[in-house]
Symmetry: D2
Subunit: 272 residues, 4 copies
């Protein structure tokens, strides 16, 4: 049995799909770009549904299979015959709490993200400098004054984290990268911490109540003064079906991001 | 029984120590700064000798205990009574090989580093731009034109890697950070890869034969054209004895590196 | 005759002041931080009114005199006796136009900024990636995908430009610094162009009509699709009265921004 | 009358040329890449000899004309008929002095550079961290601990300065960019200062006497302890003959450095 529906910035078909089935869903095939794949992961990972993301938008993706690979063989045969690899990718979960870190009871939903959680103010007519305090595992680490904070997975390191001058992390690793967005401090720098860490963030001095939590660039919830958000590795992973036989992360980096250490390539005559 | 000797840029007492004992060494106490601790780790890690590094130089260290902690209690009692923590830190090993990656037989010693392996040319009267090709796990990743390449551990991420705008990585993680030094390319960026990866590097176009391999900033060996260096996680770890009860990596970052997301600190009145 | 009034994010007393006088204004004394001084400059520079900005907020400022200097001598005597220096600082002006660069007639006010003009989307509930096209002096230079673009003066280089990893430029120079905010491109980099250049910017692909022009972080106007904003050196300068005898830009950099090339200071015994 | 000779890392024909003529030289035509053009500028600028640099190496250059432009018309006719533009580029001069800045008498030659002066240690077998103190116009600005310091012209901003994460400056400007090379400080950042500034640099703590002054990457001289180097705008400019009719600096940036704010180009339908 197959369920069909549109997906996009204004359409989220997944809750209806998940509510309308009695059996567990075997597989989701999503057509679109990396954004479509992110949305599928946020909605399907908790139910452990593997995702086959097919890039139909034209641009090379980190998360999507090319339609060429899709067409090259009878995909259904491969899917039914279990002839595919599954790539597991770490996700993040976030929840909002009142007050300090000893208060473990969330007052919000549990939000999931595959790329990043972001704490950033939003306003239609003001440019707001956020002041955020961060604890890791219960110890105050730092305050950040600037455009906000990105807490990312390795998968997300090539997205907003990279734009904010953060590090590129191989998605085969479990790690959490914390990158300030345009910090008003010369000595600020991104940091990579173990996946078992819990990151707690407060918004200080937010008179216009504009601070918000974003998951993969989508609004999750507002954060009021006195509340903290706790971000940690999610209990579930995103599972992507890989059809390509020659998947190379480094090649995708080079082709999609034009990542390159040299502008001019030399020959290596030394390989024997 | 206690062996005593000087250590420094021109003194390496460890081979003599290791050769002159018949029993295994229980513990090394080294007095100095982070450089002294690095040297001890390179020389003692393979024999699994724990190191108590005491900072007598005055500057706060990432690897050293403060003499204040050292004096605050009868250290010998704690050491004899096993009342101390041991911090394990990942190291790197490197070896030089002829030709391509299928040639697994090294033609050099196995070099160890706690901070970083660095491939960089050296000359007394020329400023040399190196051209390096890098493979990871057998796939060509990129070429780098510039001052060289740093392959670092998380421990080393706060040293030369940081100076080359690389990422800061919590030393509780196992990971390898590859950071180009002054690359002549706008789109070059550091990358963090899984600890199980093997990084192979060739020096191309080196007419003056100036390329060298450095371990923690100390010359390991020259690299001739046609040779490659393989760098991977070492089989042994460095083991440091921690006497402090309240060790915080983030606090050391702030105090030693003046790492700071904000110049002005606000109060957080929200902790209840 | 002296006019008095409050100034702040919600108070702009300058239009009333300027409308209520029949004689020209000799001097404005503003009490506050750098933000107060910026607002005075935007409102008073066109009328060539010199500004004495006195820092009463506590934090060291780039634009403000310390109250200590203010009190140390009879300031009125110095002002009346012309015993002070005037520091001239380049400003930027911006205007919105329809269509391409040949259309020189503005459809907006002329906006002034002392720090920077910024083109950046604003929304209360969406995180928007802007796509901006930039021409300089009539030639297409580049497109920028990310959080926006900052076009700054040397004075502004130590503010939002610095947070976006742009260059620090001595305010004694005339120059325009263009810095992308979190660009989704590894090879993007700030550029400094001559002060006589005209920078034209279009917002492409802005379905939610969220792109806005900001002057020193304050909303100037919305930018609709098809409109371009032209930014150039303003015809007027900001003029600040300097009472200090030993003003040093580099010292302010070190003290206010903790700008520092070395964490540990060595003695220089070589000065004879 | 025409003089011919080879030029390269090991050949400097210019002193012989300059010594062997009785009349002034009208024009130098140099064939090669940017390095050849730099060498010609260093040697010919003081005599105000215009340079026609023709790129025969294959790679696009910032300083060289393409052989295509060279061939497209009778170049001799244009040169003899004065139908070409001359692009003036600011240079730097450096001299070594004993002790503090009041000692104006140099003890060295006057060195010229078109790209940059660089203070950097060099050694065949040690990796050396330099400790440099810098004054600007007689005021101590900062100390730098790291791989060295680059003092560059706008022309040089796209070379080593760019590799060290310094700013890109339009070569139509006069300015001096100071960029630390791999500084061991999180809060270090490049700075751009007015062209009339004098930059003085001392090497502190140099036990191996390895600090050297480099001009455009070529060794100028050693710097001994107690000596300072003074760097300022040169009295002479480099003069390059431009044959292209449509020279665009921004286009060269994009094509040579792959400088790009966006990976994907959108259409701008708004130009009317």
């Amino acid at each position: 049995r197959v369920l069909l529906g549109p997906s996009g910035p204004k359409d989220n078909p997944y809750p209806v799909f998940l509510a309308s089935v009695t059996q567990s869903i075997d597989l989701a095939i999503v057509l679109g770009g990396d954004g479509t794949a992110l949305s599928a992961a946020r909605n399907l990972a908790a139910d452990r549904i593997p995702i086959l993301a097919v890039n139909v938008g034209g641009h090379l993706g980190f998360l999507t299979e090319s339609p060429d690979d899709f067409d090259s063989e009878t995909v259904w045969d491969r899917l039914l015959g279990d002839r595919f690899a599954v790539q597991r990718r770490m996700m993040l979960q976030a929840s909002v709490h009142e007050g300090n870190r000893t208060n473990l009871e969330p007052i919000s939903d549990r939000y999931l993200a595959l790329n990043e959680m972001c704490i950033k103010p939003a306003s239609a007519d003001r440019m707001i400098t956020s002041i955020l305090e961060m604890e890791i595992d219960g110890a105050v680490v730092d305050q950040y004054q600037g455009d906000g904070l990105i807490v990312a997975t390795p998968t997300g390191s090539t997205c907003y984290t990279l734009a904010a001058s953060g590090p590129i992390i191989h998605p085969g690793m479990d790690a959490i990268a914390i990158t300030p967005i345009c910090p008003l401090s010369l000595s600020s720098r991104a940091i990579i911490i173990p996946p078992g860490s819990v990151v707690s963030i407060w918004a200080l001095a937010d008179p216009d109540l504009s601070t918000k939590l974003w998951m993969d660039g989508v609004l999750a919830t507002s954060m009021w003064p006195g509340q903290r958000v706790d971000i940690r590795m999610a209990e579930c992973d995103a599972e992507f079906i890989i059809l390509r036989k020659d998947y190379s992360y480094y090649q995708t980096l080079r082709e999609k991001l034009q990542w390159a250490g040299a502008r001019i390539q030399y020959g290596n005559h030394y390989r024997n």
